[in-house]
Symmetry: C2
Subunit: 214 residues, 2 copies
């Protein structure tokens, strides 16, 4: 316990510093290549202290996923104002999402790339986050469909499909924006609104794209 | 070499049977949980013969990724008719894509889920496949923009972003369609066309979604 006694910082603060360092190393190096030595050094603590607090490399990675998922969900929730029309809600939600992923590229890399490229139980934890976003978008589309009196024409299954498409597009764009210098969160959100909402809007007002005869 | 001599089948045929079995087991169980015993049994060969032909579990998984990626790319290429207008090309491409992923759910699971959840070198191999699809969609959008004389207003970066969004949406929808009973490839492609093309079409004809003032 010697290492613990040398610090005057509360445990919670120390732990956050370790997680900050771990997200950075995991996000940049990947789970396999990340070294606990490097994480401890970046956090300014001893390696035994990291193990004492976070138990194992696997548990540390899980803790990173949970913290980053919670932060991203809270950022999007804080950005959305439920009293606005659905398109404005989606716009605010997307801006909050892309702002957060741009400000926390290592965290987004952990969630989008690293957590999914290292099997279970990590993939299941980000699956939960994804389901929450799909539910949010599904509800926005359903509200819009109801307002446009399109319920009978737009079955629940179609709404689910549109929500899946939009979330997949947002995930893909966040990774692209972080890899493309000079793209702002606002531009990325506008690209997706142009891509998605204008199409949805036409769909709602009864101007769908018509497939050629089978 | 006894096991090889007992067969009258050419090596190439045997190898395809092993890959068929491997795609099914990897796609359903995941890379870690898949057992070489089960793959050999399903292929109707001895386990040593699988190792003799495909070398290792890792090499077998890589061979599955390459075969499924090639099959999917060829299916989409065969579906697209370059003489058609861009929206019809995208429609045919999406139909071919969703038809193939619906007919080969285990292959799609290997490419979309398993290859990405087990680190390198597997993730890099599907990355190549993805870049090819993004390039195809980018070119369709660029052609459409040129036809609509929108070049100066639609910078290259915006086109890249739209293509990333569309490919992300398609990946997300393929996984959703395979997990949702009763959804046809045609319906899935129409959902994405409604989501994407109608929006793109408005964008091209100068009716973008307008973000509220900053």
């Amino acid at each position: 316990m010697g290492a613990v006694k040398t610090t005057r910082m509360p445990r919670a603060v120390r732990e956050q510093q370790m997680l900050d360092a771990a997200v950075r190393i995991f996000g940049r190096r990947g789970y396999m290549a990340a070294s606990m030595d490097e994480i401890a050094e970046l956090a300014g603590v001893s390696k035994p202290l990291v193990y004492l607090y976070l138990n194992s490399k696997e548990d540390l990675f899980s803790a990173c996923i949970r913290r980053e998922a919670t932060a991203l969900t809270e950022a999007v929730r804080a950005g959305v104002r439920p009293e606005l029309p659905a398109d404005r809600q989606l716009w605010e939600g997307l801006r909050a999402f892309f702002t957060h992923t741009a400000q926390h590229p290592d965290g987004w890399s952990v969630l989008h790339t690293q957590a999914r490229t290292h099997g279970e139980p990590f993939a299941a934890e980000v699956g939960e986050l994804r389901r929450e976003f799909v539910a949010f978008v599904t509800q926005l589309i359903a509200v819009t469909a109801r307002e446009a009196h399109r319920d009978p024409d737009l079955p629940e299954r179609e709404v689910s499909g549109l929500a899946e498409a939009l979330v997949g597009a947002a995930e893909s764009l966040a990774a692209w924006a972080n890899a493309t210098p000079g793209v702002t969160a606002r531009q990325t959100a506008a690209t997706l609104m142009n891509f998605a909402w204008v199409g949805l809007d036409n769909l709602m007002t009864g101007k769908p794209w018509t497939p050629p005869a089978a």
